[in-house]
Amino acid sequence: MAAESVPDEPAQRRRRRQESSCPELWRLLDAVRDPEIPVISIWDLGVLRDVRLEGDTVTVVITPTYSGCPAMREIETDIREKLSAATRYEVRVQTELAPAWSTDHMTEAGRRALQEYGIAPPQPAGAPDRPVACPRCGSEATHMISRFGSTACKALYQCDDCREPFDHFKCH
């Protein structure tokens, strides 16, 4: 059981959801999206960690992507609104830092949604650097324009074939 020393957060998170006693609350929260990238839910992004129902109180555990991500506050407000509109529970939102969020916590569906939206999805963390494929024409002949794009989580690239500039969700 060597895996014990390195907790597999994506697997544990999936298990928390599968074994949850309140699956309907998780489903409600699938409607909460990243305000900067509205095609991806907080579940698919890996930001939603746990939903616990104890008595009349529902505790939602989230983790920030980047330390200064300004979207966290909006996400919190949105969680409260969605749950208060559909249930009568008292809502608590708790932020948890450890384990630190990684793009490896993103789901496959989340990666596909980014790709379709025109954002090149992140590569697996720690994997050897592979070329970033253009989300529009699929060419691997691309180059980085800037290490930071419109938000902290993205870098700016350009395709050498179709010439289209695009965002790449950085591996983090």
């Binding site: 830092l97 930071f148 938000t151 902290a152 983090h172």
Partner: protein, 255 residues
């Protein structure tokens, strides 16, 4: 040490780390709309945001440790110069682009090692904050390294400005490795990082980048310290005046 003074030492330690991050974040944010070109403007603002986020993580923990009703915002906006504990290098005016990038290089190399060790802190909250911040700092370092090479090994003008920046900053680097008594106590207890031990590897790593960038390692013939005791350069007051103005003029105002 009594339990009370232990808690006070930890509060002061966390607060100082928050001050470093906030003051540097504010300096970097000054580049917003002043960057040399659009992509760089965005990059600088993003790095600033990482630092301000880091400050919030430290301040909210400090506020909990204090348990006296002060919030993270109170700590940021309602303390004056002498109560700030940031390292002096973080408060120096942003200068030209070379000065800003030279400072980032010096600090990115420092924080890469510092945060890596803080991740092993016996204090779980500090370890969690450090793990989060370390990933961001490693990315910042790639960028400041790129810029050091591009400017140092660039034109005669950019080379000259970069060398001048490194020379001017050098005397402020001694403070990065100076340990106070309370901090040394926390380090012995496995909570704080022994910064003094980081000096030799830090200097070797910075020297490597400088050599690659055709820049010279400055002479260590002067140094200045005092930030951790609240003795600052004249520049911090102006920075705070601008940053704190809204909360001072309109107490409790919300965004």
């Amino acid at each position: 040490m009594t339990e009370k003074s232990d808690n006070e030492a930890l509060f002061n330690y966390v607060l100082a780390l928050g001050d470093d991050a906030l003051v540097l974040g504010q300096r970097l944010a000054e580049w917003c709309r002043n960057g040399p070109f659009l992509e760089e403007d965005l990059a600088m603002s993003n790095v600033a945001l990482d630092y301000i986020g880091r400050a919030r993580m430290f301040y909210s923990y400090a506020a909990e440790l204090e348990g006296g009703g002060r919030s993270e915002d109170d700590l940021a906006f309602l303390r004056d110069c002498r109560e700030f504990r940031n390292l002096l290098i973080t408060e120096l005016p942003r200068g030209d682009f070379a000065f800003t990038m030279a400072r980032q290089l010096i600090l990115d190399v420092f924080y890469t090692a510092f945060l890596e060790r803080l991740q092993d802190s016996g204090d779980a909250r500090l370890a969690a904050i450090a793990a989060k911040a370390a990933k961001e700092t490693r990315y910042h370092l790639r960028r400041s390294h790129d810029w050091a090479l591009r400017l140092g090994d660039g034109t005669a003008e950019s080379h000259g400005r970069m060398q001048k920046a490194v020379d001017e900053l050098w005397g402020y680097t001694a403070e990065l490795f100076e340990m106070g008594e309370a901090e040394a106590g926390l380090a012995a207890a496995g909570i704080a990082v022994d910064r003094a031990a980081l000096r030799t590897p830090w200097q070797a790593a910075v020297q490597d980048v400088l050599a690659e960038a055709t820049l010279e390692l400055p002479q260590a013939d002067w140094s200045i310290t005092g930030g951790r005791e609240g003795i600052h350069t004249e520049h911090l007051g102006y920075l705070l005046a601008e940053m704190q103005f809204m909360q001072r003029a309109y107490p409790g105002q919300q965004w």
